[in-house]
Symmetry: none
DNA sequence: CATGAATGAGGGTTCATTCAT
DNA sequence: TATGAATGAACCCTCATTCAT
């Protein structure tokens, strides 16, 4: 038999590559950094990957695939939808935090020019999914009829995005239920007190606010 | 004494550098690309900039300075605060859109490993400012007392961030007042209909939602 | 003004490249060998050539162009053709010897797999030209009617080829008129004495020679 | 004891190596190409050969040994020499054509810098043998006394060389007796018609042709 | 003997920066 | 000040060879 394949080799290299990519970005990462960190030879790298970009792609696609699996099922607006939304959010936040190094990397688009589309594509798909859901919620009378679904769904996905960006920066386990609840409540009811809300509404706001002219 | 020829050369180079950086990112941008686009020599580039990174820094700092000027004054919670918030938002959206190429670049962290901190720093400062404002609004009884200011302000800044990221992708002039109004109303009152909101509230939601255990 | 182009740079590099290619062949030649021999930097090489292969091509094409110029005019079968053939041969032999290093290189096909076609193509063209000339000489009754022009012209071009291969190996100036005369006489009249020739002919040779069976 | 499995493996590798060397030349041939074509492992290759060059040497030496065996016996100038020459030539042409792939390879010097000497050495030895024979033929009065044996023997070996180079390019079985006869007749009697030959001779040609001065 | 994963030196090429004019 | 040819360090990738099984 041949020298047996080091079954850990590819995993070691992926782990090391992930770290180096996170530290330095795709362009600035050197194969030498990766292989020496993995305790492997340069040749070993090319045994498992076509190129530096290939390694990066494999890492990112793996993350996005797992993430998509986490997010794929369309929410249903049944009686229990709020609770399930809440739980789903917790799951997603938890997944992100557990993969925080990688998520940081991907959220930065690999810190390279050619891979920003990865996160953009993903964010766009997530946003589209949210818009679709918002549309159904408006039709069901659950969400305001005057909602510009495109803008607000974009805003909501941005809110999640930013909170997650913060989340993945800390190594201390965050309070997922609390964060999910705050986000959910914020998205549903906004920041204002109910009385203020009512008041703002009665002012037929913001229709009377004149536009700033260019 | 400023020499006009000089300034013109530097401006040409800055403009060209901005374009190339936007197209290719910091790491992938070549000095040759910049100088040939500017119709200048490579020597000229190094007369005005210490290095490629220096040129990038100057470009970004200039944008952030102008942006900070746009955002610096602390909002006051007087009778007219909603209208002024609305107008300020329109100004910011407009500024971002007018500088959309550059904003795209900076929001991508220069597409390099070493400059992501620029946008992160800026986002953090903006977020801190927002948190501070939210705190005051809670104290004033305008915003809900149960708001976790840190989380929600982060979410709100993320919402703006994402909407702006979308904004700067289009060359067609967006409807700033509409976008600003939608955002403001969303942030203040959320997405749910008032009746739903009340209903959700009466369920003492989401306090009773059990946390997802890891 | 810019630092002025070193007008000798490309020539120095070509000369050095020629030497290194001759010594080591295309594949084994290292850019470092070439540039250090030329007293130039590696970058200088890529200032003048696309790649190692490009430099090789330029060197070879230059030689072949000059050689083709030497051989291009079709010989005319007038009263003086023998003398002009003789003189032309001397010129060609001389040209080859003067460029002996390069000719050695090209005759070895660059000692690489991908450029053998260069010399093959050239040899084929030369051979075709010779066949055409032989055909006319046969029609004019100057050459034997039983000549298989294709085979014999190939043989003749091979004879010249080999003599030239020998020629370019020596640094001592060869006796061109003598060599040209010997070749010409050999080609015209062969090696046998006239009396033998007649004798061979009378034996209706070689028609009666039985073929070796496979 | 020879182990059949072994010998088979080595033969497979030699065959594959021959093919790869023919296709790509020594430098560009990859051990992987050879072993995968042979259906063997890389390790197996190094069980049988010291190095890539060693394999190449073995292949070439085997061919040259067989070829030398074909050419070794000195021709005797007895009454039947012409017929034996003719037959010998047919044998050689046939051998070359049957080993045409390998012959192509060797004639290209392995398409590498370091093995051109192989074919050169062989050609030189063949040429020396021919010169020696020509010398004897001149002494015997069969060949012209004014023959510069060194030059003309070189030319003749070149003629054979080139014809053989053409021969090994075709996969259609050539007409060996015809080719051998054409070559022999050309070498003995040249290309010119007997009448022309006599005429050229009476002009005391080419002694009166003036040399081209450098 | 056979395997083929692992090794790592080697070299072609790029491009930020320098500097002679 | 302006130019752009020249520089050479840096780095990705290849592939001949080794060796653990």
């Amino acid at each position: 038999m041949a020298r047996p394949a080091d079954l850990h080799a590819k995993l070691d290299l992926l782990r090391a590559a992930e770290e180096v990519f996170v530290d330095r970005g795709l362009d600035q990462a050197r194969i030498d950094d990766i292989t020496s960190r993995a305790g492997k030879s340069k040749g070993a790298f090319y045994l498992h990957f076509e190129s530096k970009e290939d390694a990066f792609r494999q890492i990112v696609e793996s993350l996005l695939a797992r993430l998509a699996a986490c997010m794929e099922d369309q929410p249903v607006l049944d009686a229990d939808w709020l609770r399930r939304w809440h739980e789903k959010d917790q799951e997603i936040l938890q997944f992100m935090w557990q993969n925080r190094k990688l998520v940081r990397l991907v959220m930065a688009g690999g810190k390279s020019a050619d891979f920003a589309f990865l996160i953009d594509d993903f964010a766009n798909r997530a946003c589209k999914q949210l818009q679709e859901f918002f549309g159904r919620a408006v039709e069901a009378g659950l969400f305001r009829a005057d909602l510009d679904v495109e803008i607000v769904a974009t805003g909501v996905s941005g809110a999640y995005d930013r909170v997650i960006r913060d989340l993945v920066l800390t190594d201390a386990r965050p309070d997922f239920p609390h964060i999910a609840a705050q986000l959910q409540r914020f998205v549903l009811g906004g920041v204002a007190t109910p009385s203020s809300s009512v008041q703002f509404g009665s002012l037929s706001w913001p229709a009377t606010v004149p536009a700033v002219k260019k």
